[in-house]
Structure formats: structure tokens, C-alpha cells
């Protein structure tokens, strides 16, 4: 029987667990697994006594927190992201990322902890966008561009996708409801890594980001303006 106990430490605001959640309530002081919630921090030797140390990822790769000098399969670092569309509540999906240095038993422990808490867990390699953002952001982009090009109305496009492909909410309704500025940020990060046209932020997302920045400049937009 694996040890499913876990502790939580916060490094700042977490996109995965923004409010209260049974998973937070289930944490103990000295768990076998340490879950770091909030923006991940620079690599350092965290808690070698733990079976796994889980690092919350945004659009970056776990590699950003791994130490160059560590040999393959030698560390307890595991990346995770709870998938979320913009301001919508987080989904029940946890994407678990094994990095170059991640030990298999750390990955198994992380999966066991999340599954015991009722999450759906998918494993993936340490690549930008992991599974869902990498696959679905281009689809959202396609929908936004098709809307601009008059292929169909948003309602008809979603209706076709619902009836034809079993996309229960369609694509546009959830995306437009979640705020497009965040979609801009994610696609921009993916475009930077992959350089492929499907990740280029579409016009509607660019406009949403511009509007949001005018209303309240984000940290990222200030850095961009400063040329960094």
C-alpha cells in the first residue's frame, strides 16, 4: 500500500487551487509527498527526504527547475498542472510531467496521491503546453479565426462540434466565457517555443490582451513594454 500522505507549501497564488478544496484540506504536516502550490521557484535541493516534490507548472517546462548536474532519474521533482481555461474554474485534470531527472517512483507517488483525491491524471513528457494546451489551443485559434472569416456563427460552429464530435460545450462558448486575454498569454508562450502558425495568437485574443492591459497593465505587459 503506497503512502498517500502529502503536505502543501504555498509559494504564491496558485492557478490549480485558487480557493478552498478537499485536496487542500487533506494535507498533513509531514506527508510523503510535498506539493508546492503557486509559481514554481528556482531549482534548489528541496526536501530530499520526500518521495516526491510536486512543482506547479504554468506554461514553462519542468526543466527550468531541474539542476543541470543531476543525472537522469535521480530526483524527486515532478511537474504538475491542473488544466484550466482562463478565469473558468480549474478542471479535474492533472497533467503530470516527468522531467529528465524525475525518478519513476516519484512519478508513481504523485499519480497515486492525485488519483486518491479523485483527479484524472495523465502523464506526459516535459514539453511546452503538455497535452491539452498543445492540442487544444490551436483549435481555439482556428475557431476564433473562422469566426472572423465568417465560416459560421459561433452558435452554429459550436452546434456542429457538439452534434458531430461530442464536444459537449463546443469550443467557442467556453473560450469566450473564460476571457481571451489569458488565451493570448498561453498561445504567445507556445508560439515562442514552437514557432508554428497554429499557436500564433489570433486577432480576437490580441485585442482582448490589449484591452486588458489598458485597463490594468499586467506584469508581463510592463516587461514587454520595457523591452525585456
Amino acid at each position: 500500500m503506497p503512502d498517500l500522505s502529502y503536505s502543501i507549501a504555498r509559494t504564491g497564488e496558485s492557478r490549480a487551487f485558487p480557493g478552498t478544496h478537499a485536496f487542500i484540506d487533506g494535507a498533513t504536516a509531514e506527508g510523503a509527498v510535498l506539493v508546492l502550490l503557486g509559481p514554481a521557484m528556482a531549482p534548489r535541493c528541496v526536501a530530499p527526504e520526500r518521495t516526491a516534490v510536486l512543482v506547479e507548472l504554468s506554461t514553462e517546462c519542468l526543466a527550468a527547475y531541474e539542476r543541470e548536474e543531476d543525472p537522469p532519474a535521480s530526483s524527486n521533482l515532478v511537474g504538475f498542472a491542473r488544466w484550466r481555461l482562463g478565469a473558468n474554474p480549474p478542471s479535474d485534470l492533472i497533467e503530470l510531467v516527468a522531467g529528465r531527472t524525475t525518478r519513476p517512483n516519484a512519478l508513481d507517488a504523485a499519480q497515486a496521491v492525485f488519483e486518491a483525491a479523485g483527479f484524472t491524471v495523465s502523464r506526459c513528457a516535459d514539453r511546452a503546453g503538455r497535452i491539452v494546451d498543445r492540442l487544444l489551443r490551436p483549435q481555439f485559434n482556428l475557431a476564433l479565426t473562422a469566426l472572423d472569416d465568417g465560416l459560421a456563427t459561433a452558435e452554429d460552429m459550436d452546434l456542429c462540434l457538439k452534434l458531430g464530435l461530442g464536444y459537449r460545450q463546443g469550443l467557442l462558448a467556453p473560450l469566450l466565457g473564460s476571457g481571451l486575454a489569458d488565451h493570448y498569454d498561453v498561445t504567445r508562450a507556445l508560439f515562442e517555443v514552437y514557432g508554428q502558425a497554429q499557436y500564433a495568437p489570433p486577432r480576437l485574443a490580441v485585442v482582448a490582451r490589449q484591452k486588458a492591459d489598458k485597463a490594468e497593465p499586467s506584469h508581463a505587459s510592463l516587461l514587454r513594454e520595457a523591452g525585456e
Binding site: L135, L136, A146, L151, A152
Partner: protein, 292 residues
């Protein structure tokens, strides 16, 4: 003018043709199922009959209705039998030349007022109509997989489609219990415009070892509440169909996402076409038609 439908035909008894034939026969029309391959006809007959038996077992259809629907279906390998059809739904391979050849043969065989619907996924309705010999009587009617369960039909006009043909095509869809939605004669209409590049992205992700098919499906379903994961959907559609659709799509859009990934070609070469060969991204015990 009210249109009287006496008999319909489906040309091409593959994955889509068998499902389309079920929808038509179930609605009360005599239905001819035509294929040039006797094996395809045998398989379609077996699958259609098993489907109706399943519908009865699961309480979706009573035994008498299933028997009547089964009796309305005839399986023919001689195209001249389609002479009596009021409407022909074309569902053969996704190849412009092959479809145009068939439509022009049908033009010679069928009455002048017989309506031709094409189930093409990526080809231009206007180009198909141009090669048919009766361009004003050709309408795009893109059924969804699995056609026997899905009501959506994306309908599009060729430039040459007459208003009367369009109305009749729409009425035919309603009469056979389908849900027509008007789209445009553009590559992929709505569904394949989204699906073909996306499914190639999924195949590339598997090929690059980013995640296993089961993990991809789990992730996408949990994230967005989709009914199916992309890998099981590709298996259902058929990898050969995805390959043909990609080739057709790439040739007209030049979009790199629609270029067939090497893994897709390898799986097709290995005969791992999905459910229909019992093996694709996943293993399946049988080639029975999906649903009841």
C-alpha cells in the same frame, strides 16, 4: 412541390455507407446499398443486421420495426440497379476522380430528376458537381461518424446547385430523421476543418512520445468534457480515412497541420486502421458497428 421519396440508394458500403443506409431504411424508405466490392457488401449486410439486432436487444427499436427496416434494404453490386432511386447518397473513397467517375456513371443510369448527395469530407461540392453531368442536382451532405447514431448532416451547395435541389436535399434529411445544418462549400465544412488538422496533431504527439494515446484521451476528455478522446475517435473514423482526408485537405489548403504524419502512413501500411480492423491506437475485440 411535395417530393415523394420511394427509393434511395447509398453508393459505397464502407463505414459511412453502412451507417447512412441504416438511417434511411429506419425512416421507412426502400434502400439500395451498392458497392463494387462484394466483400464490402457482405460486411455491410452483416454489420447492418447486427446493428438492428442490437437496437432490438437494447430496446431502441421494436422487433417488427427492425425486421421491416432490414427487409427494406437490398445489397447490389450492379450499378444499373440504382436506376429506380430518387436520391443517391454517394459515400465511396475520398478521391475526386473516383467520385466524379461514379457520379457520371450514375448520371447515365439514373432518371434525370434523381438527386445526388455527396458525403465528401474535404472535396469541393462544386468540383464534384462539375464532373457529374448534372451539376444542378448535386448537393453536399456530410454525415457524421457513426452515421447510424449521429443526426447532424452538414449541408452545402455547389455553385451550380439549383434552389429546388437544395430544398429537396434538405427535405430528404428531415424525412430520414437527420438534423441538417447549412455550411459552406469550403474544405472540411465545419467538422473536418477542425478535425483533420487536430487529429494529425494528436498523431504527431503520439509519434513524438509526448504522451500515450490513453493519456491523451483521458486528458482531453477531463479538460473539456468531450464525449470521446481524439485517439478513440481516430480509431472510429479509420486511419485510412484520416490519411485520405489529410492528403485531400493538404492538396487544397497547403496547411502543414493537414500534412499526413509519418506514423499515420505507417499504421495504415501495417493495416492498423482502427475499429474496422480491430486495431488502431487501441485494440478492439470485434468490428461490430458502434452503438445500437
Amino acid at each position: 412541390m411535395a417530393w415523394e421519396w420511394n427509393a434511395a440508394a447509398v453508393a459505397g458500403a464502407g463505414t459511412m455507407g453502412a451507417g447512412i443506409a441504416i438511417t434511411i431504411a429506419r425512416s421507412g424508405l426502400n434502400t439500395l446499398v451498392f458497392d463494387e466490392s462484394p466483400d464490402a457488401l457482405d460486411r455491410a449486410k452483416r454489420q447492418v443486421e447486427a446493428f438492428f439486432e442490437g437496437s432490438v436487444r437494447k430496446g431502441k427499436l421494436d422487433a417488427a420495426a427492425a425486421a421491416a427496416a432490414t427487409a427494406r434494404l437490398s445489397y447490389v453490386k450492379d450499378v444499373s440497379a440504382l436506376a429506380e432511386a430518387d436520391v443517391v447518397v454517394e459515400a465511396i473513397y475520398e478521391e475526386l476522380a473516383a467520385k466524379q467517375r461514379l457520379l457520371s456513371t450514375l448520371n447515365a443510369v439514373c432518371r434525370d430528376d434523381t438527386l445526388f448527395l455527396t458525403n465528401t469530407s474535404t472535396l469541393s461540392i462544386t468540383e464534384l458537381a462539375a464532373g457529374s453531368g448534372r451539376p444542378d442536382r448535386v448537393v453536399g451532405a456530410h454525415y457524421c461518424l457513426p452515421a447510424q447514431l449521429m443526426r447532424l448532416v452538414e449541408m452545402s451547395k455547389a455553385i451550380q446547385t439549383s434552389a429546388a435541389s437544395w430544398d429537396q436535399a434538405w427535405a430528404f434529411q428531415r424525412a430520414t430523421g437527420q438534423h441538417p445544418v447549412e455550411t459552406k462549400d469550403r474544405p472540411g465544412f465545419v467538422l473536418n476543418f477542425f478535425c483533420v488538422p487536430y487529429h494529425n496533431d494528436v498523431i504527431r504527439m503520439v509519434e513524438a512520445g509526448v504522451a500515450e494515446p490513453a493519456d491523451i484521451d483521458k486528458a482531453v476528455k477531463a479538460a473539456m468534457g468531450f464525449a470521446m478522446g481524439p485517439c478513440e475517435l481516430i480509431d472510429l473514423i479509420g486511419l485510412d480515412t484520416q490519411l485520405r482526408a489529410s492528403e485531400a485537405f493538404f492538396s487544397v489548403t497547403n496547411n502543414p497541420r493537414t500534412f499526413p504524419p509519418p506514423l499515420l502512413r505507417r499504421m495504415v501500411a501495417a493495416g492498423q486502421l482502427g475499429r474496422k480492423t480491430r486495431r488502431g491506437f487501441f485494440d478492439y475485440g470485434s468490428d461490430a458497428l458502434f452503438g445500437a
